[in-house]
Amino acid sequence: MNKVKLLYRACVVLAAALAAALAGALVLRTIGASPLATYATIFTGPFADKFGITEVLVRAVPLILVGLGIAISFRSGILNIGGEGQILVGILASTATALAFPGSPKVVLLPLMLMAGALGGALWGGIAGFLRAELGVSELLSTVMLNYIAAQFYTFLLRGPMIDPSELQTGSGTPQSMRLPRAAWLDRIVPETRLHAGLILAVVLAVCVYILLWRTTWGYRLRAAGAEEKAARYAGVHVERSLIAAMLFAGAFAGLAGAVEVSGVHHRAIEGISSDYGFSGIVVALFGGLHPAGILPAAVFFGVLLVGADMTQRSAGVPANMILVLQGVVILAIVSAQMYINNAYALERFARLFRRRTEQTGAQS
């Protein structure tokens, strides 16, 4: 039965991916682009050279981090849509920390600013967690509102208190912070590319998240509260604390993603830095089955999509917003498919069909 179950799941996921591709093709046709050419560019373009491949991984790093946080939160029963805002707060916290101690040695400054980023994100996520746990406020709405608030706050700081003084001098007024001291930079691990040590950090954390969720008592509590709140309460789990903890984790990972982006890629806080990683992270988490082992490949896959979409924008004039379209359809397809994945009826009917087919072919041969 297990082989049939796997085959069934694979068929469902494939059907979902196909639906997504078709919907995307429809939109592409509307704007006069050739779906096949576009998809071809997206999926093959990034692999054309070394730079392309490393770019995919560069994009994957924040996706992995945000995705891991989302996996923790979703499995704990709290839907974190606030990745965007948490990333921004993480960036602010880590940048401010790095700029506050310019003379410190790398071994102190780098971990410090990364932790500051995680703490900032955790704080922002914790607000939503608290609102949900103690006041019953739907986290779907509160995290979305917090995204908008964080965005305004970010712009305010970057145009005001945190703006690079040299911008004021030259009068160009670009909203960006000062460059971070070199000690706060994550090292490039492949020369002449943008791939940085954050990748190693991300992979290590993925393993840690696996251990946390499935091998520790804390993880047991989180998962129980997320799977069946009533039973968790009955078993003595403090569900409110669990929800807040889950949001703290999720926010911390997103904040860390922001800090890593600043430290490894841009080396300063700028506008547009979060580039929707907060939302893409949700898609990556869902696509990866809310499990670190699935999130890692899913993040790489979406890295390919992101880099590919940039390429199609430059070459074929397909707007980069197409990515949002694809992501939206992927989400819709996956959640629709889940009904079939968990549907015992459909599985039984599929199994019976499968058995009849194999019996028929067996009888014929």
Binding site: G32, G136, L141, L146, I149, F153, P319, V335, S336
Partner: protein, 313 residues
């Protein structure tokens, strides 16, 4: 005094998009489904409302571009509502996440089509104000209430219309039953899924209208961030308004006043950072949700739960 006049006369038209979208979402939620994709539907509605006005400015249909825009937006809203119904009612997907997916989809498609067909930010003439003869001359109240474009009047008329539809018609009775005790409705011969589809399509249509209102009547242009969270605020408004059209009207007015307050503060010369003023409506939503706990218990009890007849009770 003139500041009050400004706030009120601006606040009323500002509330229409929120009001109509929230009234539409109310039908969804009363039937048991919450649609976070409202934001995405509004984006599509905003773009499609704007498109005829942009493309057909010169030409035989020039006089009707606004009407066409609204119709196109409503049609798109119905289709997107239908899509959402397919995912959440037929496929019984998780409504929260599906809503986010729909939002990304709607926002993405609107943005993509905008960049391709329009290119840059351009303005349109939009819908002019239509003063109601006689009433608009009442001092103070006339200007505040009766000197707006027709869509405003239409929007406000939707409040009593929604009330009547929900509480005095058979369909409204079905919607309320389906959101509270779908199994009971099912045993009495009501097609639960069909009613939910209908509610979602109506909600989608109204969200589309609200989006077109934003681009044609309020901002008189289209940009990526024209909706900027109003769809989500509309969903929150339904909770705040305790799932009643009158309560939603109150909430919509309250929120739009918060937005116009922000503008008035700038104009009034009070030194207040622009970004903080923009934050106000979103903060308000959180505060309102935090203190509206009791409301949640009186909502449609099956809100968020898909219905499966074959599921063993």
């Amino acid at each position: 005094m003139s500041m009050v006049y400004n706030i009120l006369s601006l606040g009323i038209p500002f509330s229409v998009a929120l009001l109509v979208a929230a009234l539409g979402e109310n039908f969804n939620q009363r039937a048991g489904i919450f649609n976070l994709g409202c934001e995405g539907i509004m984006s599509m509605g905003a773009f499609l409302g704007f498109l005829p006005a942009f493309y057909l400015k010169t030409g035989p249909l020039a006089a009707h571009v606004n009407l066409l825009g609204f119709l196109l937006a409503i049609a798109a809203g119905v289709l997107l509502g239908l899509l959402f119904a397919l995912v959440t009612v037929t496929f019984r997907a998780s409504q929260g996440i599906a809503g986010i997916g729909l939002q990304m989809f709607g926002w993405g498609v609107a943005g993509t089509l905008f960049r391709h067909f329009v290119g840059g930010v351009t303005g349109v003439e939009g819908v002019p104000a239509w003063a109601i003869p006689g009433l608009s001359r009442i001092p103070f109240a006339g200007g505040v209430l009766f000197n707006h474009n027709p869509a405003v009047y239409l929007g406000f008329l939707m409040v009593p219309a929604s009330w009547y539809l929900l509480y005095r018609t058979p369909w409204g009775l079905k919607v309320r039953a389906v959101g509270t005790h779908p199994r009971a409705a099912d045993t009495m011969g009501i097609n639960v899924n069909r009613v939910r589809y209908q509610a979602l399509m109506l909600g989608g249509a109204m969200a589309g209208f609200a989006g077109a209102y934003l681009s044609l009547c309020q901002a008189k242009m289209f940009a990526d961030d024209i909706v900027s969270g109003r769809g989500f605020i509309a969903v929150a408004l339904v909770y705040f308004g305790r799932w009643s059209p009158l309560g939603i009207l109150g909430g919509a007015l309250l929120f739009s006043l918060a937005q116009t307050l922000q503008l008035s503060i700038q104009v009034g010369g009070i030194k207040f950072p622009y970004e903080f003023a923009v934050m106000l409506p979103y903060l308000l939503v959180i505060l309102v949700l935090a203190f509206a706990r009791k409301a949640r218990m009186r909502g449609p009890s099956e809100l968020g739960n898909p219905y499966d007849r074959e599921m063993r009770v």
